[in-house]
C-alpha cells in the first residue's frame, strides 16, 4: 500500500487559506447567499410597498411627487368618488362571480379529464392555452370576438334567429342589430374572459389534487357500493378541500389585482361599468398623474390580499402539522 499521507497533509494545510475558511463557514455562506436576493426584494418590493402606502396618505402628483405631510384627505376624496365606489363593487363582484363559477367548472373539467382517452395530451394542451398565453394577447383575441359589428357570437345568434333576421340588410350593411358585448353586457363579457383565463390553472391544480387521492380510498367507496355523486361529495371533495381552496385563493389574487383584461377590452367603459380598482388606480395614478389618489385606490386591495395571505398561511401551517 502506498503511503502518501505526509505530503497530502501538507498540501491540505496550504489550502487552508482565509478565503477557503470563509467558504466553509455556514453562517457566512448563508448570509452571503441570501443577501443579494433579500436586498433586492427589500429595495424594489419593500420600499415601493411602503411608499405606496405613504403616497396614499399624501397629496403627491406626478408634477410634485414629494410627500409633505400625511393625512386622510386623499382617502376621503377617493371614498367620495362615485367611480371609485363603482370600481370597488366591480372588483369584488367580478372576482367573486368569476372565481365561484371557476371552482365549479374547474371541478367538472378536472373530473372529466382524470380518465384517460385518446388524444388527451392534445386536449390538455388546448385547454391550457389560455393560461399559457400572455394575458394581453389573449384579451386582444377576445376584443375581436366581442367586436361590435363582426362578433361571431352575433353571427350565430342571427343564424338562429335570436338577433334580427338573417339577410335583412341594405347593401353590405346589415340592418340587424348587434349585441355590443362590451357595452351593455360589458361586465358579463369581462367575467367570461376572466373565467377563460383562470380556468386552466384551477383545473390543473385540481387535477393534481384528484390524482393524489389514494386508489384504495376510491376502491373502498366502490366496494361499499357508494354511488358516483355520494363518493364525489362525501369522499373526494373533503379530501381535496385544501387544494380547492388553494385554486380558489390563487384565482382570487390574480383576478382581483388584474387590470390587463379591463385595459384591453373596455378601459373601464365609458360609464365605468367595468372599471375595477386596479384599472382605476392606473388611470388616476399614471394616466392622470395623481400619484396619491392612484396609490390610495390601489391600497384598498391590500386588506383583501392580506386576508388571503393569512388564509394561505394557515392552510400551510395546518398541513405542516398533519
Amino acid at each position: 500500500m502506498v503511503t502518501t499521507s505526509t505530503p497530502l497533509t501538507r498540501s491540505m494545510q496550504r489550502r487552508q487559506s482565509r478565503m477557503l475558511k470563509l467558504l466553509d463557514s455556514e453562517r457566512f455562506l448563508a448570509s452571503a447567499m441570501l443577501l443579494p436576493a433579500v436586498a433586492y426584494i427589500v429595495l424594489l418590493v419593500g420600499i415601493p410597498l411602503v411608499t405606496a402606502i405613504l403616497f396614499s396618505f399624501s397629496d403627491a402628483t406626478m408634477a410634485s411627487p414629494e410627500i409633505d405631510g400625511l393625512n386622510f384627505d386623499t382617502f376621503i376624496t377617493v371614498l367620495n368618488d362615485p367611480v371609485f365606489r363603482r370600481s370597488l363593487g366591480n372588483s369584488i363582484g367580478f372576482t367573486v362571480i368569476s372565481q365561484a363559477s371557476m371552482v365549479v367548472l374547474g371541478n367538472v373539467l378536472a373530473l372529466a379529464l382524470m380518465k384517460n382517452f385518446p388524444g388527451k395530451w392534445f386536449v390538455r394542451l388546448l385547454i391550457l392555452l389560455p393560461w399559457a398565453t400572455p394575458i394581453a394577447i389573449g384579451a386582444i383575441g377576445w376584443l375581436w370576438i366581442y367586436d361590435s359589428v363582426y362578433s361571431p357570437i352575433d353571427w350565430i345568434f342571427r343564424q338562429v334567429g335570436l338577433l334580427g333576421i338573417q339577410g335583412d340588410h341594405v347593401g353590405l350593411i346589415s340592418r340587424a342589430p348587434n349585441m355590443y358585448w362590451l357595452g351593455q353586457y360589458g361586465p358579463f363579457s369581462v367575467i367570461l374572459v376572466q373565467i377563460w383565463r383562470m380556468l386552466p390553472m384551477s383545473t390543473v391544480i385540481l387535477m393534481a389534487g384528484l390524482s393524489s387521492i389514494p386508489q384504495d380510498v376510491k376502491d373502498a367507496a366502490e366496494v361499499d357500493g357508494v354511488g358516483f355523486w355520494r363518493t364525489y361529495f362525501q369522499v373526494t371533495v373533503p379530501l381535496i378541500r385544501p387544494i380547492i381552496l388553494v385554486a380558489f385563493l390563487f384565482g382570487v389574487i390574480f383576478t382581483f389585482t388584474d387590470m390587463t383584461i379591463i385595459h384591453v377590452l373596455t378601459r373601464g367603459g365609458s360609464d365605468n361599468s367595468t372599471q375595477v380598482l386596479a384599472s382605476y388606480a392606473y388611470y388616476k395614478g399614471i394616466d392622470g398623474g395623481n400619484l396619491s389618489q392612484g396609490a390610495a385606490i390601489a391600497v384598498f386591495m391590500l386588506p383583501v390580499l392580506l386576508g388571503l395571505a393569512m388564509i394561505l398561511l394557515r392552510i400551510a401551517r395546518r398541513s405542516e402539522v398533519r
Partner: protein
C-alpha cells in the same frame, strides 16, 4: 492510521443532549463499533468526528491534532453513509476519483489509485457505469472503494450494511472486516444491529441517550455487561432479569436449562419454573414461563438447544438450573453491575443458594 480520541465530547440540539460527555480512545488500526438504539447519539458522535456537526463542548483529536475547528475536508477522514451517498451524476470512476481531485494529483496518479481501489473491491468492470445502474451490493462496494481510495487516517461507516438484504449482509460483514484488517485503518462503525457489532468489532461501545454505557470486547460485553441496559440490549432473547431481595439477578437464556437435561455443573442454582409455552426454532427451543421474583412472577426465557433430547411439558412446574458462574448481579436502583451478593428467591430449591 491514527488514534482518535474524544474528551468530554458533547452535542446539544436545543434541550436535547444528543451526545452527553463521551470519553473514548480508538486505537490505531482498531475496529470500533458504536452500538445503540436509534436516538442514542451514536451517529451524532460519528458526525462530530467527521466534522459534519460542531461539538457543543469537549475536544476531538485525530492523530496528534485537535480537529474541533477543522472542516471535514481537512481531517483526512473518509465516511460511508447509510445511503452510500454516491454522486448520481458521476460514473463510478468519477465517484471514486472525486476525493482525489482536490489533492492536486496528476491524472496518472489518480488513475492508478482508482484502479487500485476498484480492484480491491472487485468493481473494476463497473467503472464506467452510473450509480443507478448498480445493484445494492455493488453500490456498497463503490462507496467503500471511494472511501479507501484516499487512504484516510480514519474510516467512518454509518450503518453501511443496513440497505443490503439479509443474505448479502452476512457476506458483506465478513468482507468488510477482512478489508479493514488488510488496510489497517482505524475504523469507527455505527450500527444498531448487535450481530454486526459482535461479529466485527474489536471493541464495542454501547450507547443510549447520548451516554456510553460500556466499552469493551464483544465477549466482555456479553458475559459481564456493565449495567442492565447493556445486559438487555445484547443477546436474543436478551438476558433475563429477576428482582431478588438484595439485587437484580441476571442470567442468559442459554444458561437457563432444565435440571433434567443439564450436565453436571459444579455450582448449580435450581429454580422452579412455571413453563407456559415452548417455541420450536429449529436449532433451538425457547421456553417461555415465569419464576417467582421478589414482587411476584417474572417472565423469563430459557434457550434449549435442539441437540438436548429432552422436552419439558408446558403447563408444568419445571426445575431449571443456572451455573452460578453465569450469574450477573446488578444494583436494584442504579442498574449498575455489582459484585456477587447473597440473595433470597422464593422459588429456589437449593438451600445453598441463600449462602
Amino acid at each position: 492510521m491514527a488514534v482518535v480520541e474524544t474528551v468530554k465530547l458533547s452535542k446539544h440540539f436545543n434541550d436535547v443532549k444528543a451526545v452527553d460527555g463521551i470519553d473514548i480512545t480508538i486505537q490505531e488500526g482498531e475496529f470500533l463499533v458504536l452500538l445503540g438504539p436509534s436516538g442514542s447519539g451514536k451517529t451524532t458522535l460519528m458526525r462530530m468526528i467527521a466534522g459534519l456537526e460542531k461539538p457543543t463542548g469537549g475536544t476531538i483529536k485525530i492523530g496528534d491534532r485537535v480537529v474541533n475547528d477543522l472542516p471535514p475536508r481537512l481531517r483526512n477522514v473518509a465516511m460511508v453513509f447509510q445511503s452510500y451517498a454516491l454522486y448520481p451524476h458521476m460514473s463510478v470512476y468519477n465517484n471514486i476519483a472525486f476525493s482525489l481531485r482536490p489533492l492536486g494529483m496528476t491524472r496518472q496518479q489518480i488513475d492508478d489509485k482508482v484502479h487500485w481501489a476498484a480492484r480491491m473491491f472487485s468493481i473494476d468492470h463497473l467503472l464506467s457505469r452510473k450509480p443507478r445502474q448498480l445493484s445494492g451490493g455493488q453500490r456498497q462496494r463503490v462507496a467503500l472503494a471511494r472511501a479507501i481510495v484516499r487512504e484516510p487516517d480514519v474510516f467512518l461507516l454509518d450503518e453501511p450494511l443496513s440497505n443490503l438484504d439479509a443474505k448479502l449482509r452476512a457476506m458483506a460483514r465478513d468482507e468488510l472486516k477482512q478489508f479493514q484488517r488488510q488496510l489497517g485503518v482505524t475504523t469507527i462503525y455505527v450500527t444498531h444491529d448487535q450481530v454486526e457489532a459482535m461479529g466485527m468489532g474489536d471493541r464495542v461501545a454501547v450507547m443510549s441517550n447520548g451516554r456510553m454505557h460500556q466499552l469493551g470486547t464483544p465477549q466482555v460485553l456479553y458475559q459481564s455487561p456493565a449495567d442492565t441496559f447493556v445486559a438487555t440490549f445484547l443477546g436474543t432473547p436478551p438476558m433475563n432479569l429477576v428482582e431478588t431481595d438484595s439485587c437484580l439477578l441476571g442470567f442468559r437464556p442459554e444458561n437457563f436449562l432444565p435440571e433434567a437435561a443439564h450436565p453436571d455443573t459444579p455450582h448449580p442454582l435450581v429454580i422452579d419454573f412455571h413453563l407456559t409455552r415452548v417455541e420450536f426454532l429449529g436449532s433451538d427451543r425457547l421456553l417461555y414461563g415465569t419464576i417467582e421474583g421478589a414482587d411476584g412472577p417474572v417472565k423469563v426465557v430459557g434457550d434449549l438447544p435442539s441437540v438436548i433430547d429432552y422436552t419439558p411439558e408446558p403447563g408444568t412446574i419445571c426445575p431449571m438450573m443456572v451455573d452460578r458462574r453465569h450469574l450477573s448481579y446488578f444494583d436494584k436502583s442504579t442498574g449498575q453491575r455489582i459484585a456477587p451478593t447473597p440473595f433470597a428467591l422464593r422459588g429456589l430449591r437449593d438451600p445453598a443458594g441463600t449462602a
